[in-house]
């Protein structure tokens, strides 16, 4: 009779410890999954999905096309970014500077990104046959082109900055020449004006007629 109890306790003990182990193991896996994704929120994707769900009024096909293109652009940007990061991260992990869990985080995000890209291609095919093939290429070109466009904004910002700086420089020069005049040294002031004028355009500037 006693040995039956012993057997039951033995088996029960095993089942209990298996359960306890399983509980901690699951929690560990969940911890990794809850870890921060590599990138923040994918806004382009959220916007696309929100547009798809609109029903009063419905989004036009053109608007959805535009939203899908933006989503593809974001996908391309992330793929390029991860490619860059991968090498660096691999080295860091090898050196031991950075923990293994970050590597796991990275590979999980990589898989997620792969799935997202496939998703985008599938969506594209629902718009037009075979668009899935070219949408990523188009998106890559668009990403590069957008950088060029940002130049325009930067040029404007720089324009204002330089204008400010130049105004400061000019007022300093004026003060300096006024001071020198007061000190009765007229000659250097006149000479200074001529040196800044000398390199000024005397020859006709050439202009490109063809690209």
């Amino acid at each position: 009779m006693g040995s039956v109890w012993l057997a039951i306790i033995y088996i029960g003990g095993w089942i209990l410890s298996m359960r306890v182990f399983g509980y901690f193991w699951k929690n560990r896996k969940l911890a990794i999954n809850d870890a921060e994704p590599w990138f923040g929120e994918n806004i382009a994707r959220s916007q696309y999905i929100a547009l798809l769900q609109q029903d009063e009024p419905e989004a036009t096909e053109t608007q959805l096309t535009a939203a899908l293109l933006r989503r593809a652009m974001e996908g391309v940007v992330r793929v390029l970014s991860m490619r860059e990061d991968k090498q660096v991260l691999a080295n860091l992990v090898k050196q031991g500077t950075v923990g293994d869990d970050i590597w796991t985080q990275f590979t999980l995000s990589e898989k997620e990104l792969e799935a997202e890209i496939m998703n985008i291609v599938e969506e594209a095919n629902t718009f037009k046959e075979n668009w899935g093939q070219s949408i990523l290429q188009t998106a890559s070109e668009m990403v590069m082109h957008e950088k060029t466009k940002q130049m325009q904004k930067e040029l404007e910002v720089r324009r204002e900055e330089e204008a400010r700086k130049q105004a400061v420089r000019d007022s300093r020069k004026e003060k300096k020449t006024l001071k020198e005049k007061k000190e009765g040294t007229d000659a250097p002031a006149a000479a200074k004006e001529s040196t800044t004028a000398a390199p000024a355009p005397a020859a006709a500037a050439e202009v490109e007629a063809t690209a």
Binding site: E41, S46, Q47, Q54, T138, E141, A198, A203
Partner: protein, 197 residues
Amino acid sequence: MSVVDLQIANDKVVCAQHKNEVCSECNQSFLEINDLTRHLKSTNGQVPPPGAVLPLRSQQIAKMREEGNTFFRAQRHQEAIVAYTNAINIAFDRPLWEPTQLAREELAVLLCNRSAAYIARKEWVNAYVDAEGVIELKRPWSKGHFRLGRALFGMGRLEEGVEALKLGLMFDPESAEIQKALKEAETALVAEEALNE
């Protein structure tokens, strides 16, 4: 993943709460989608295959550039600047799917010409900014460095101007105009240093 609260009003995508295209409170921007939609209208909603260019835009840009060149040769620099600026705005407004390289080539030439016009009018800061743009787009092009040098001289930044010219000369050692400008600049620099002693 949060839900994006948007609505469609007057054919534009805007935020649901404030009806803004770009809303800092909702922290959303639908400007890109709306711009793209606008560009897609000109191709009937079809996304062109990669590398395709609409000839109309290139023609407009070329026409404006030629106008600018004509004004420039006639010494009407202000009008040249206006024509170049129009061309530049059109070039910057190309739909994103058109090849980047094409846009960059166009812009480099346009900015270089506009910089020359600014130099002629002694608007040094504008010339400087445009020249920097040219260099960013097409660094090995000696003309960009040439314009930068001239602009820097006009601003009184002689040493930086000499550096710019030297860099330009490195890319194009045969350039007569750079060599000439460099000689003038170095003489001016020597004269200024003598003054300061």
